[in-house]
């Protein structure tokens, strides 16, 4: 019961944000790049969330900002999950030297300090959105790869995969027909997790002033708010709270979706798997952001 309810809430919020992003020009009361009010104006009927340090309408900024955050979130998550899943499946299934090399590669990436790498790549590649997506995507696929691989390890031992191989199915066929469907819930969960991580990262980078300040994003709003000491003034109520809540809302709705997906898929899966199926795997099933496969 509660899974589907959460799922519905999550889906509804996400749709709300997507609509806001797509129809931003229509929904936003003002053009966020124009100065339509006094700097630091408090909320009023004309400006529901007041104005920022140069008099741009904060509500319009919020609405337009959803575009960047959602695109970064979704596109990066796709990139990272596809890359992570492929590496995970291939190395988990083939094992042997391929597995060794890929996993050591993953270890190296996991050991790289994240933020400095972002700064260096941002400085080196320039700060437009595509670079941001590439940079974040190429760095966070390592974790999903590791987790998906661990799942593939146990799925690989299961009865029907062995049977398929025994009947002469090629590796590619087995991977796509047998292994992939079994790990879709985990892959979906990893998609949710990487979406969360990339939205959070984009916001942190913008907050540290390391991404393009003219690109309207929730992180950029927080950067200006912090730099212009909004936290100290009463402005924190309408300048700092909303962008943070927007980020949290998008991230949590992804998590709700992931949770609902995991719960529905899990229960369906549980009935198909015959009792004798080896249930246990000792690798890290990830949480609701990445439900375990039973």
């Amino acid at each position: 019961m509660s899974g589907t309810l959460l799922g519905r809430i999550g889906a509804a919020t996400l749709i709300l944000f997507v609509v806001a992003a797509v129809f931003a020009p229509v929904l936003a009361p003002y053009d966020p790049t124009l100065r339509t009010a006094q700097p630091f104006a408090a909320p009023s009927f004309a400006h529901l969330l007041g104005a920022n340090d140069v008099g741009q309408d904060i509500l319009s900024e919020l609405i337009f900002a959803s575009r960047l955050s959602l695109t970064v979130g979704i596109v990066t998550a796709c990139l990272a999950t596809v890359l992570g899943a492929t590496v995970g499946v291939v190395s988990g299934y083939l094992r042997g030297p391929v597995d060794g090399v890929l996993m050591r590669g993953v270890d190296v990436i996991l050991s790289l300090p994240f933020l400095p790498l972002m700064i260096v790549l941002a400085a080196f590649l320039g700060q437009n959105t595509t670079n941001l997506i590439l940079v974040i995507g190429l760095l966070i696929w390592a974790r999903p790869a590791r987790l998906i691989r661990s799942q593939v390890l146990s799925v690989r031992e299961s009865g029907h995969v062995q049977a398929a191989r025994a009947m002469g199915a090629t590796h590619g066929y087995v991977m796509i027909r047998h292994i992939l469907p079994r790990i879709t819930p985990l892959v979906a969960a990893q998609f949710v997790r990487t979406a969360n991580v990339s939205i959070m990262l984009e916001a942190s980078l913008a907050f540290l002033g390391l991404s393009d300040p003219f690109q309207k994003s929730w992180g950029a709003i927080l950067f200006y708010a912090n730099a212009r000491s909004a936290f100290l003034a009463d402005a924190w109520l309408w300048w700092v709270l909303p962008p943070g809540l927007c980020i949290a809302a998008v991230v949590v709705s992804f998590a709700f979706l992931g949770y609902a997906l995991e719960e529905r898929v899990d229960s369906r899966l549980r009935s198909i798997l015959p009792a004798s199926e080896p249930q246990k795997d000792n690798e890290a099933p990830t949480p609701v952001g990445g439900g375990t496969l039973r």
Partner: protein
């Protein structure tokens, strides 16, 4: 022999998304002291739900309906509050769960798991409990050197023995075994069944043995009840049920057993599959698959009545009074 357990009108309902499902529907049964009662039925007939209900371990969305009674030594366990049940489980009634192969915690040595059953009831402190545990394990055939192994280091049969040792550790009045030997090869099955009957002799254990395999039940059970779609359709002495099965379903089950000796016969299976508990057929639950079904069967839902001394059956063939249409 005096009765140890009397169950009356036990019904357990699962609230699924498609509506309530009566997995166990008004079951009555009795178990005498030192008696082994066999419960037989296809998978999906409600056997495991029956076992879980007797242990009061039914997990939501399942619920035991009010009005079900379970008198153990005269005390109705269903009246007890939930919090009082742990004290009874393992001491008064014990369970050998289904797929005992996975019933042991993989990360704890077996002797400590058995000892835990003992200390749970405050009988002894951990050192003493460990010693008793090792004795119990030796009794069921696990040698002392093997008893502090981890479950995955033991064979299926040995794991089954550990579970049995665990169940009987506190000398329970009643042991309920759910498919104790299914999944084991025939030789090991025989050994486990012999172990169970030895324990019955040495301990005077009364037992309910639930299985889908008639031959297992036939070997060691005193009385047999046949379960179909959550109901008891036939009950009686093991020998009489086998020699003269009354209910068509029982007859089909008995005839389905391949005879190793004697003339070759073509095996006959029962057409169709277990009914969908959400949409039970009208009248008798078995009538769609019953070779002897006739008009009334579609209307009347027969109740379990005495057909011969010591023999009950729920089928219109034997209860003229319940027939409606003919008169």
């Amino acid at each position: 022999m005096s009765t140890l357990l009397e169950v009356r009108g036990l019904s357990t309902v699962y609230h699924t998304s498609e509506g309530p499902v009566r997995a166990v529907d008004g079951v009555d049964l009795t178990v005498g002291r030192g008696e082994i009662l066999g419960v037989v039925g296809e998978s999906g007939s409600g056997k495991t739900t029956l076992v879980m209900s007797l242990m009061r371990l039914v997990k939501p969305p399942g619920r035991i309906l009010k009005g079900s009674e379970m008198l153990l030594d005269g005390e109705d366990l269903f009246r007890l509050p939930r919090s009082a049940m742990p004290a009874r489980r393992g001491r008064d009634l014990a369970l050998i769960p289904q797929s005992a192969m996975h019933a042991l915690n993989p990360v704890i040595p077996v002797d400590r798991q058995v000892a835990e059953a003992i200390t749970a009831h405050g009988e002894a402190r951990s050192k003493a409990a460990l010693r008793t545990a090792r004795d119990r394990l030796r009794e069921v055939g696990i040698s002392p050197e093997r008893c502090h192994a981890y479950p995955h280091e033991l064979s299926g049969g040995m794991r089954q023995r550990c579970v049995i040792a665990m169940a009987v550790a506190n000398e329970p009045k009643l042991v309920i075994a759910d498919e104790p030997v299914s999944g084991l090869d025939v030789v090991v099955q025989a050994r486990i069944l012999r172990l169970i009957s030895e324990l019955r002799e040495s301990r005077g254990l009364s037992m309910i043995l639930v299985s889908h395999d008639l031959t297992t039940v036939a070997k060691i059970c005193d009385r047999i009840m046949v379960m179909y779609a959550g109901r008891i359709v036939e009950a009686g002495e093991t020998r009489t049920v086998f020699e003269k099965p009354l209910h068509p379903y029982t007859r089909a089950l008995v005839e389905a057993i391949p005879q190793v000796r004697g003339p070759r016969q073509t095996l006959r299976a029962i057409p169709g599959g277990p009914p969908d508990l959400n949409h039970l057929p009208p009248g008798c639950n078995f009538q769609p698959r019953c070779p002897a079904a006739f008009a009334d069967c579609k209307v009347v839902d027969p109740s379990l009545e005495e057909a011969e001394p010591g023999k009950k059956v729920a089928c219109l063939l034997y209860h003229e009074d319940e027939r409606k249409l003919e008169a």
